[in-house]
């Protein structure tokens, strides 16, 4: 008769063995009385919306108080850490004779990049008051940065206590987070099955259906508010910066398409991008279509096809393409993909609001109609979804029309509304553009859009040059931003209050970027107003980041991260995994000394011998060396003579072979599924650049 300890030892041995003997395991499990866990209680709260402010009497951060027998709302002290996410209003007074409109929404409804100096609520109130339709009307700002669908549901439930005459709901960008929360293990298994049968198209459809259920469940609350309280509701459906917000490097990594070669896709992409450079839009269109056929989940094909349509004047087709491109992130490659209003959100909101007889302001359509010969872009948006002043003003004019219709049963034409008198100072607008440039840079946008915002900033207010120079200083230094004097000065000045009080400029530990493209764009913009700091920046880069005899590890964030986008996998590896055909590293040189590089690499999925990794310097016309692909970690050293270097930032581009052995039969759950779906082409454990001693 075995003791319990002996049985436990035997079971452990069986569990560690491969393959497993299920029968013997079951027998010992029973013997050791190892059972299923006590079944989870039916937790109704997990189904219902979370309660970030779990007090039914609260409205956001405001709690009810009584003064002279009248109920008003004041900010709750205990909620102080959350105050900065909401409007800076300490007290919501009792309702007066004025009509009262509540604005519920997320950062786009706050006026991100302008808040607290200018807000969407302020603009709406101004338009309504200027319309002459009301004898006094106020807009209570209940919008919150990063408002999720759960919290919005609570706000919808609670807001009637403020006695509104109307409610505006301006949200929908942040809701995808709820879909991620709701997916359970069963769903993941279904997704895997659907993917194996119907690829990305099937997965997208599955996820959209699930997402639709979430939105419908939320909208029941909105309908309840409208029905029970007889409050007219206007639903503002957010738009998206289709033209000028591009997918980033991570969102573009290729996916495994069963039975097809990744190399074909890579080849097509090169062809298409060359056609784009050559302005050969016919070839661009046909090649992009082939890219989509090979990988419908990758936004790059749609973006290129949209460019082709746009150049050919096929605007609606271009819009459709870009709308689809935007929605590919439902199968996210990136952990930091920015908020957006998916088509399914738009459609459900539109359908539900229409059926409930609510007013609808569909910014997606309104903005696209505003540019019949093009697509709405940077003129109306500062980034993916946050609006420019022009965008806010246009959106609020249409919202005012809808409110007038709801409150006065009066249908006006847009031209009948006078402009609001709200005017921003040039410095506020300039700061919004510079902050937008930073935000665009930190989430992977290209130098030209960064330059556009920097240029707009200096044109609006040349005085912003000082702030830009301070930004350049702390961004270029290796020291953590929070310790930098130039950052402290910006905070002290209050100059950058419009970007979360300036604290949005802080970076996670060990993830400081060098912001090369943003700084270059800033330098160009400053040069345009006669301020040339190119040499100063070059010197500072050399001082802070210059390759030296001790060596610089190019896997550190300033040298290989150009944005905060990271691949979706939950785990963080101790080495760099590359999922694109090429990876660029940046290093800083004084161009006087020769450099040596020590690379430790491997290609875990490479298919056959005699595949080569190519290493280029500066661009892909300058091949420096090529090395053999290798399954196991391999050390490889190579040199770079000073004659091939430029003073300042240089690039090392590593091109990986993409003929891979792919595992199509994933047994594991999410991480393994994603690993297989988005295969690794190469891995780097270390890449150290060193100067060679003179006369070596």
């Amino acid at each position: 008769m075995k003791t319990r300890k002996e049985k436990a030892n035997a079971l452990a041995e069986l569990l560690m063995a491969h393959p497993k003997e299920d029968k013997a395991i079951d027998h010992l499990l029973a013997d050791l009385q190892i059972n299923d866990p006590i079944s989870k209680q039916n937790d109704s709260s997990s189904k219902s919306f979370n309660k970030p402010f779990n007090d039914s009497k609260m409205i956001g951060i405001w709690e009810p108080k009584f003064r002279n027998g009248q109920k008003l709302y004041q900010r709750k002290r205990e909620m102080q850490p959350s105050w900065s996410f909401w409007a800076s209003i300490h007290e919501i007074p009792p309702k007066s004779i004025k009509k009262r409109v509540l604005l519920l929404g997320e950062s786009v409804a706050r006026g991100y990049f302008y808040d607290p100096l200018y807000s969407v609520a302020q603009e709406l109130e101004s338009v309504l008051n200027s319309s002459g339709e009301f004898n006094g009307i106020e807009v209570i700002d209940l919008a919150k940065t990063s408002m999720g669908i759960d919290e919005l549901g609570l706000l919808v439930d609670a807001c009637a206590d403020l006695n509104p005459d109307a409610v505006v709901l301006f949200a929908g960008n942040n809701w995808i987070a709820k879909l991620a929360e709701e997916l359970n293990e069963e769903d993941i298994l279904k997704i895997k099955k659907v993917y194996s049968e119907d690829n990305f198209t099937g997965v997208k459809e599955f996820l959209e259906n699930k997402f639709a259920e979430i939105i419908e469940e939320f909208f029941d609350k909105v309908k309840q508010l409208s029905r029970n309280e007889r409050i007219p509701i206007t639903v503002v459906i957010p738009g998206f910066n289709l033209l000028d917000w591009k997918s980033n490097e991570i969102e573009r990594i290729f996916s495994q398409q069963s039975g097809r070669s990744l190399q074909d896709w890579v080849h097509l992409r090169s062809q298409a991008e060359q056609a784009l450079l050559d302005k050969d839009y016919q070839t661009l269109g046909t090649t992009a279509e082939q890219m989509i056929a090979l990988d419908a989940s990758n936004p790059r094909g749609y973006e290129l096809l949209a460019t082709s349509f746009l150049e050919k004047g096929q605007i609606q087709q271009a819009i459709d393409c870009l709308d689809f491109s935007k929605d590919t992130t439902i199968l996210s490659r990136s952990r930091k993909t920015k908020p957006r209003c998916f088509k399914v959100v738009r459609e459900i909101l539109e359908k539900e609001a229409r059926e409930a007889g609510m007013e609808i302001v569909d910014l997606f359509s309104i903005f696209n109609n505003a540019f019949p010969k093009s697509i709405s872009g940077k003129e109306l948006y500062l980034d993916y979804c946050h609006l420019s002043v022009k965008g806010i003003k246009m959106a609020m004019r249409y919202t005012a029309l809808a409110l007038i219709k709801g409150l006065k049963q009066k249908t006006l034409d847009i031209d009948e509304l006078v402009d609001s008198p709200e005017r921003l100072s040039p410095s506020t607008e300039a700061m919004a553009h510079f902050c937008a440039a930073i935000h665009n840079a930190h989430y992977g946008q290209e130098e030209e859009i960064l330059f556009y915002h920097c240029q707009r900033a200096v044109n609006l207010d040349p005085g912003i040059a000082e702030v830009i120079k301070q930004y350049i200083d702390f961004s270029t230094r290796k020291t953590s931003t929070i310790l930098c004097n130039s950052f402290g000065e910006i905070i002290m000045d209050g100059a950058i209050r419009q970007y979360e009080g300036g604290f949005a400029l802080l970076h996670p530990r060990g993830e400081k970027l060098m912001d090369i493209e943003l700084i270059n764009a800033s330098i160009r913009a400053l040069q345009s107003i006669g301020e040339d700091c190119e040499d100063i920046v070059r010197q500072l880069r050399i001082q802070e980041h210059g390759v030296n005899q001790q060596g610089v590890e190019l896997l550190e964030s300033p040298y290989q991260m150009t944005s905060y986008n990271t691949f979706s996998l939950g785990k963080e590896n101790g080495f760099l995994q590359v999922r694109s055909p090429e990876k660029t590293f940046y290093f800083v040189s004084n161009a006087k000394e020769d450099l040596s590089f020590q690379l430790v690499y491997r290609n875990p999925n490479f298919k056959k011998e005699d595949q080569w990794i190519k290493i280029f310097v500066e661009d892909k016309s300058k091949l420096l060396t090529q090395i053999k692909a290798c399954k196991d970690w391999t050390n490889h050293n190579f040199d770079l003579p000073a004659s091939q270097l430029k003073k300042g930032v240089n690039q090392l581009i590593i091109e990986w072979p993409c003929d891979l052995v792919l595992n199509t039969n994933s047994q594991g759950m999410v991480d393994e599924f994603l690993e297989n779906l988005f295969p690794v082409v190469g891995e780097i454990y270390s890449l150290v650049a060193k100067t060679k001693p003179i006369g070596y």
Binding site: N9, A12, I34, S146, T329, R335, K478, E500, G574, V600
Partner: protein, 586 residues
């Protein structure tokens, strides 16, 4: 294998994750993962510590012959199955029970051979191979590894033989942790506090505590299990323990009463008694004059002193990193012996400065980015030491950052907070300004080796702060003298840590006191600082008077840190308000 191997030793996935590297048999680097991630007791597979170790050794992952892991996953799983801490659903879902292997392969990316050694064998190797003894008796005691909680063994040359084990759930470490929990302190964290509390008490509850454990024949003992409830991993003690002690458990952060202090003393007395008894048993079995100890319980320096005094052992070596972090050193040496057939380390471990070090240029570059005023003595070491000593003599509290970071839980003059031990208000001052810890806990002294016998009752070096001894100094040393007249001493020699030694000399020259109060350079709840930036942040957010860092002095009097302090405190709470990045189905 023609050349000596390069080996990585790892302890991880429970607490105190750490990594070390033996480059061709030489211990080149070792560090805890928490120092890099800034997560105290971080249990994660030590990817950052590994990267550091490789860089220090000038090796790449491709040069590593073997990774050695400090536990046997199968045995540990067996113990977990026996305990019932895993259920059937978890078992059915898990594809690979060897989490260590999974993470070494996936997160560290290592593709070579992995060797596993028992937890207590790792502890045993971590002490014997670094003791410098040709032969020794080995005594390891901690909470639990796989099954073993206490082991007895011998070391001779390259061979270690553990001949007897006490098995879970019977554990001296878990007894200590259980009472720690009963006294309202955190398990795996508050044991030091219980040890520090004990000298204030009388062993009034020795009889009650003795009821919790029974010594058996040879090395064996048994816990009286009805009083304990840790087997299922939910809580440490059963309802019977408060009943036995006649008082409910103390609530965390509530007032410490004399009762709690007396319980702590009683526990210490019972622990010492059983350790002495079992050490004597070990001596009888081995007849070796040398004793090597490791495991969490071996960090109880009061008990260690009593063992040496009350047994026939003549010499004692305790691994300075006796907690689980030290297991990394042990496994690396075990793998080295297996792969090369030789012991890697013939001499006793001289110091624990195995972590990262920084040059004064790094510090200057950092400071130049800030608006901090500083004095640069990097070209004049005598002036630097003189200025630092002068400030210490003036009663200032100094953040001291010098050379490579220590491996193990003690700050030994690499990353230390220093002060004048003669100042009667210094203990309260340091507690108020930085450590924020319980007032009863003593601070420890560092003293110049040559002068130590004038001030402390000790006749041998104690470089790792692992022994207590009586203070016999003519000087009044209230800041480092415990209530029972003892101190947990670090002796400092020029060979072990020259900069720190010279600072002590400079302080002695000014004050005729060759002793400094030395406590670890960290804020409560955070790991010891690792980089100059960590040190600067810690300095700014506390009230330490001065930071002496690689030839540079930053004086609080010459700076206004109000804004930086607010920003750094804010940084801990919030990084960005835009939190809804899209997560799709992951």
């Amino acid at each position: 294998m023609t050349t000596k191997p390069n080996i990585i030793g790892i302890s991880a996935l429970y607490h105190d994750a750490a990594c070390c590297i033996l480059k061709e048999g030489q211990l080149v680097a070792a560090a805890e993962e928490e120092r890099f991630t800034r997560i105290k007791f971080d249990p994660s597979i030590p990817q950052h510590a590994l990267r550091y170790c490789l860089r220090e050794a000038g090796l790449s992952i491709a040069d590593i012959d073997c990774i050695a892991f400090y536990e046997d996953p199968q045995k540990k799983l067996a113990r977990q199955l026996w305990s019932g801490v895993v259920n059937k659903e978890q078992i059915k879902q898990e594809q690979n029970f060897n989490k260590a292997e999974k993470e070494i392969r996936q997160i560290l990316g290592f593709e070579g051979p992995i060797r596993y050694y028992d937890h207590h064998l790792s502890h045993a190797a971590s002490t014997f191979y670094f003791s410098g003894f040709e032969d020794a008796a080995i005594f390891t005691v901690d909470g639990v590894g796989e099954w073993a909680t206490t082991t007895y063994g011998t070391g001779e040359g390259k061979d270690i033989n553990l001949f007897e084990e006490v098995h879970f759930p019977h554990s001296l470490g878990l007894l200590y942790s259980t009472i720690t929990s009963y006294l309202g302190f955190r398990v795996n964290n508050g044991e030091y506090k219980v040890m520090g509390l004990a000298p204030y008490g009388v062993p009034k509850y020795e009889q009650e505590i003795s009821q919790l454990i029974t010594s058996l024949q040879d090395g064996q003992y048994e816990l009286n299990l009805p009083f304990f409830d840790f087997i299922k991993g939910k809580r440490m003690y059963s309802d019977l323990l408060p009943e036995l002690m006649g008082r409910p458990a103390r609530k965390r952060e509530s007032a410490i009463e004399q009762f709690h202090i007396d319980v702590a003393k009683s526990l210490q007395v019972v622990l010492e008694s059983i350790l002495i008894e079992k050490a004597n048993y070990l001596y009888e079995k081995t007849q070796s004059p040398n004793l090597c100890m490791a495991g969490g319980v071996a960090l109880n320096c009061v008990a260690n002193g009593k063992i040496l005094k009350n047994s026939k052992f003549e010499k004692l070596f305790v691994q300075p990193a006796s907690n689980d972090a030290g297991g990394a050193l042990g496994v690396a040496t075990l793998a080295h012996v297996d792969l090369s057939g030789e012991t890697p380390q013939k001499k006793a471990m001289k110091n624990v400065y195995l972590g990262p070090g920084y040059h004064s240029n790094d510090v200057i570059k950092l400071l130049k980015a800030t608006n901090i005023n500083f004095e640069n003595y990097s070209e004049d070491n005598a002036a630097f030491l003189g200025e630092t000593a002068k400030r210490l003599a003036e009663g200032k509290v100094i953040g001291w950052f010098s050379g490579r970071m220590e491996f193990g839980p003690r700050a030994l003059g690499g990353r230390s907070i220093l002060a004048d031990p003669r100042n009667p208000r210094m203990k309260d001052r340091i507690n108020a300004m930085v450590k924020k810890r319980e007032g009863f806990r003593p601070f420890a002294p560092s003293a110049i080796l040559e002068k130590v016998s004038e001030h402390f009752e000790i006749d041998h070096p104690s470089p790792f702060m692992l022994e207590t001894c009586q203070v016999i100094s003519k000087l009044e040393l209230p800041a480092i003298t415990h209530v029972d007249g003892s101190a947990r001493l670090q002796t400092v020699s020029e060979a072990d840590n020259r900069p720190y030694y010279l600072l002590l000399k400079a302080f002695d020259a000014l004050t005729n006191c060759p002793i400094l109060l030395n406590t670890s350079f960290n804020i409560r709840g955070e790991p010891i600082v690792c980089t100059p930036e960590d040190a600067l942040k810690c300095f700014i957010t506390t009230d330490i008077d001065c930071l002496s860092i690689e030839g540079i002095i930053i004086d609080r009097n010459q700076n206004n840190f109000d804004l930086l302090r607010i920003m750094l405190l804010n940084d801990q709470v919030k990084n960005s308000g835009i939190q809804h990045d899209v997560y799709t189905f992951v």
